[in-house]
Amino acid sequence: MNDPLDELLDARLRDETPYIDDAGFTAHVMKQLPRRRVSWSGQRSFIILAATILSVLVAYFASGEGMFVHDAFTRMSGLRPLQLLLVIFACGTAMTIAGLWAALTRRHDTIV
C-alpha cells in the first residue's frame, strides 16, 4: 500500500509545477538564432546535377551525336556471357561497398 504522505507529496509536486507563460521568450530566442543559410548539401546536389548534365551534353555533341553510346553497346553485345556477368557483379559490389560505407559513417546523438 502506498504511503499517504508519498501520495500527498506527488500530488503537491505535480500541482505546484506552474506553467510558465511564454511572455515573449520564444520571440527573443528566435531573434538570436543564427541567420538561415542555404545548406551546402543542397547547393552541392545542384552543382553535381548541373555538372553531370553539362558533361553529358558536351560528350554527346563532341562524339558525333552519341556515337560513343552506340560503340559502347556494340562492344557490350560482343562480350561473352561470363564477361558480362563479371561486369554486372563488379558494379553491384561497388554499389554495395558505397552503401555500407555511408551507413557505417552515420553519426549518433552527440551531447552538446
Binding site: L9, R12, P18, I111, V112
Partner: protein
C-alpha cells in the same frame, strides 16, 4: 491536426524551417525554464538567460539529434550542461562546499515560514537531489531518462530521488501536523 515534435524536427532539418523550430521552443519553454529555475534557486532572469542559451545551442546542433531519446530529454540534457558550465564559471558546482549544502538541506536551519511552501523546500535541497526530484517527480521523466540527462548511473538517480523525497516528506509532515 497538430504536428508532432518529430514532424517539426523534420521541417527544421530538411527545409531549415525556423518557424517550426519556434513552435518547438514554444512547446518546451515552460518545462525547460522551470527546470533551470529550480537549478539556479529561482533566479528568474538567470534561468531565462540559460534557457535561451539552451535553445540556441539546440538549434545550432540540431543535426546531432538522431531521435535516440525524446526531444524533451535531449533539451533537458543540454539545459543541464549549460547550467553546469555556468556553475563552473561561478564556482558554484555541487561538491565544492558540501558542508554548506548539507546545512541548507537540514530542515532545522530552514526559515520556519518557508516550510509551508513545498517549492521553497525543494529549493533548499542539495543540488543533486533537487535536480533528480525536479526531473522525475515534477517533469515526469523516468529514472532511466533522468540518468541520461544527468549523465550519472541509474542507481545514483534512484538514491538522489529517494533521499530528496524523504527530506521533502519530513518537511511536509511537519507542515501537516
Amino acid at each position: 491536426m497538430e504536428l508532432t515534435d518529430g514532424d517539426l524536427l523534420a521541417r527544421v532539418l530538411v527545409d531549415g524551417d525556423q518557424h517550426a523550430f519556434g513552435e518547438l521552443v514554444r512547446r518546451h519553454q515552460s518545462p525547460v525554464r522551470g527546470l533551470l529555475r529550480q537549478l539556479v534557486r529561482a533566479d528568474v532572469e538567470l534561468a531565462d538567460d540559460l534557457a535561451q542559451e539552451t535553445f540556441i545551442r539546440a538549434y545550432k546542433h540540431i543535426r546531432s539529434f538522431r531521435g535516440e531519446a525524446k526531444f524533451s530529454t535531449w533539451l533537458y540534457r543540454i539545459a543541464y550542461n549549460v547550467f553546469r558550465e555556468h556553475a563552473r564559471k561561478r564556482k558554484e558546482l555541487v561538491g565544492i562546499d558540501e558542508e554548506q549544502l548539507q546545512a541548507e538541506a537540514d530542515p532545522q536551519t530552514v526559515d520556519p515560514g518557508l516550510r509551508h511552501d513545498l517549492m521553497n523546500a525543494l529549493a533548499n535541497l542539495p543540488l543533486h537531489e533537487r535536480t533528480a526530484v525536479t526531473l522525475c517527480c515534477q517533469n515526469g521523466l523516468s529514472h532511466d531518462e533522468a540518468a541520461h540527462v544527468l549523465d550519472i548511473p541509474l542507481g545514483t538517480v534512484k538514491t538522489n530521488v529517494l533521499r530528496g523525497r524523504e527530506k521533502l516528506k519530513k518537511m511536509l509532515a511537519a507542515w501537516a501536523t
